[in-house]
């Protein structure tokens, strides 16, 4: 928390110092003022609600898709080899370039941005799952095998707890990536209601950096809260593990 205070103070000083060109970085006090004004704006609240809901769905979908897939690919080598090229070709696809294509197929509603965000947010979870799987102590797996642990229990009793800390880091990364893609898609297409669209509409087009930053503060704040929640979960359930859960 002191860290945040120092950060905000630096921001304020920097903005007021005149080191930066005017209008680029409004002082934090103004941004926060604008932020609280935004909270009273029904349009903004509707956008925020839409973005948040989409975000929750994105994280949910990405998690549900990527963890099982990661476990499958991480543990079955032939499968990993066979799908490797396809995955590596799909992964760098820039979401922005896909917006028109996704719009064409899915329409320009919330489903498009959710699909795009899920696409982008799945990779961190998938990769962290696969890598965490490689890092499980072989001795633990041997132990489980020697007791003929049935597969489902092997997965939820041994594999999941072992990989959980790192996978959770993946989820936290995904959450940020998902939010970024959501807001960017809203921002760039300006079609589906959301924070990004709001920022684009009211901020960027009339050069109101304070509104842009207030919207940014909002996304940052929400990201922060979700991160805190995930971290809490990590500390609560994965306390036995030294790794995981810092930033």
């Amino acid at each position: 928390m002191t860290g945040l205070a120092v950060f905000l103070a630096l921001w304020e000083v920097l903005a007021r110092s005149g080191l930066l060109k005017a209008g680029v970085l409004p002082p934090v006090s103004e941004v926060l003022g604008q932020f609280f004004l935004l909270l009273g704006n029904p349009d903004f609240l509707a956008g925020a609600a839409s973005t948040l809901l989409s975000w929750v769905l994105t994280i949910l979908f990405a998690t549900v898709i990527a963890i099982p897939l990661g476990i499958l690919l991480g543990s079955i080598r032939p499968l990993r080899l066979a799908t490797g090229p396809l995955i590596e070709f799909l992964r760098p696809l820039p979401t922005v370039a896909l917006i028109p294509l996704a719009t064409l197929v899915l329409g320009s509603g919330a489903q498009t941005k959710i699909a795009l965000a899920t696409f982008a947010a799945s990779w961190p979870i998938l990769f962290n799952t696969m890598y965490a799987l490689g890092e499980i102590d072989r001795q633990l797996l041997d132990t489980a095998r020697s007791f003929r642990t049935p597969l489902p229990r092997l997965v939820y009793g041994v594999i999941l707890p072992s990989i959980a800390p790192f996978v959770l880091t993946g989820i936290r990364l995904s959450a940020a990536v998902g939010l970024i893609v959501l807001v960017s898609t809203e921002f760039l297409t300006g079609t589906s209601v959301g924070v990004g669209q709001f920022v684009f509409h009211w901020g960027s087009s009339s050069l109101r950096m304070d509104i842009v930053l207030a919207g940014t503060v909002f996304t940052g704040l929400v990201g922060y809260l979700v991160n805190i929640a995930l971290l809490g979960a990590q500390r609560r359930w994965l306390g036995w593990s030294a790794a995981g859960g810092a930033v």
Binding site: L140, T143, S146
Partner: protein
């Protein structure tokens, strides 16, 4: 008695190409059901490898292992293992009780029964009070005892133990030895136990298998003629025990003699080098 375990022509080579290492060579022996066979052999000779092959945890590069006449291909049923690297074989996210219960969960068994069994096994090894701790909160010897309790709780037909008492004090070791013999008699389990303690191998075993240094081959297969009822004090004082013990020690020493000599020479030369340099 049926042949419980039949190892024939077992070979295991780690790696391939230049770095290949033959850990086990042409090993053959059988163990009857209900027997407790102790395995002794020099460090690094291939004892753990042998146990892993028998437990189906690694696939030997040659030869076969049969249990009840069936080829072992994968981990056999009704097996329990106490690993040499006990600390890494405990699940860090489970409590001591959770760890001991773990293998029982795969058995059809009510929650209460499972818990009772786990607690019973923990009491056997003297850890009844530590059931709610996590492995990282235990001392080395306690961790090792947890892994013994876990193996005993699952009441296996075949029990593989890799230096199970290496980290416990002498007194506890005696108690655990007696516990093991008692439990094994009662359940008529078959036990293969690797140990470095020659006294222990004779005291515990119905047989002692002496292995050569790497790659492991069988040097001797000594039946232990001690009575089934053994006692830490009287048994260890019996003439039979003393003879056997000396025999095992001699076998191990002789086998090592060549290697030992080489080692001694090496030490001597490096010694000279080092003392010559280390005048600090």
């Amino acid at each position: 008695m049926p042949t419980m375990l039949q190892v024939s022509g077992l070979n295991h080579r780690y790696g391939g190409g230049d770095g290949a290492h033959v850990a086990v060579r042409e090993l053959s022996f059988t163990v009857e059901a209900g027997q407790l066979a102790c395995i002794v052999g020099p460090s690094g000779c291939g004892k753990s490898t042998l146990l892993r092959c028998i437990g189906g945890l690694i696939k030997p590069t040659g030869g076969t292992v049969r249990l009840h006449g069936d080829l072992v291909d994968g981990v056999p049923d009704d097996l329990a293992v106490v690993f040499q690297d006990y600390s890494r074989s405990l699940f860090p996210w489970l409590t001591v009780l959770g760890n001991v219960e773990f293998p029982l969960r795969s058995l059809k068994m009510s929650r209460d029964e499972r818990r009772a069994r786990a607690r019973e096994a923990l009491a056997w090894v003297g850890l009844a009070d530590a059931d709610r701790k996590y492995p990282s909160q235990l001392s080395g010897g306690m961790q090792q005892r947890v892994s013994i309790a876990r193996a005993l709780a699952s009441r296996p037909a075949l029990l593989l133990m890799d230096e199970p008492f290496a980290s416990v004090d002498a007194q506890t070791r005696f108690e655990l030895e007696d516990l093991l013999r008692r439990v094994q008699r009662e359940r008529n389990s078959t036990v293969l136990l690797v140990t470095h303690d020659i006294d222990e191998s004779v005291y515990l075993g119905d047989r002692v298998l002496v292995l050569s240094s790497s790659p492991a081959t069988i040097v001797a297969d000594l039946p232990v003629g001690l009575p089934a009822e053994r006692d830490q004090i009287t048994t260890r004082e019996s003439a039979e025990f003393v003879t056997l013990r000396a025999e095992v020690a001699r076998l191990l020493r002789d086998r090592n003699a060549a290697a030992e000599q080489a080692l001694a020479e090496q030490v001597a030369t490096t010694e000279q080098v080092s003392t010559g340099r280390a005048n600090r």
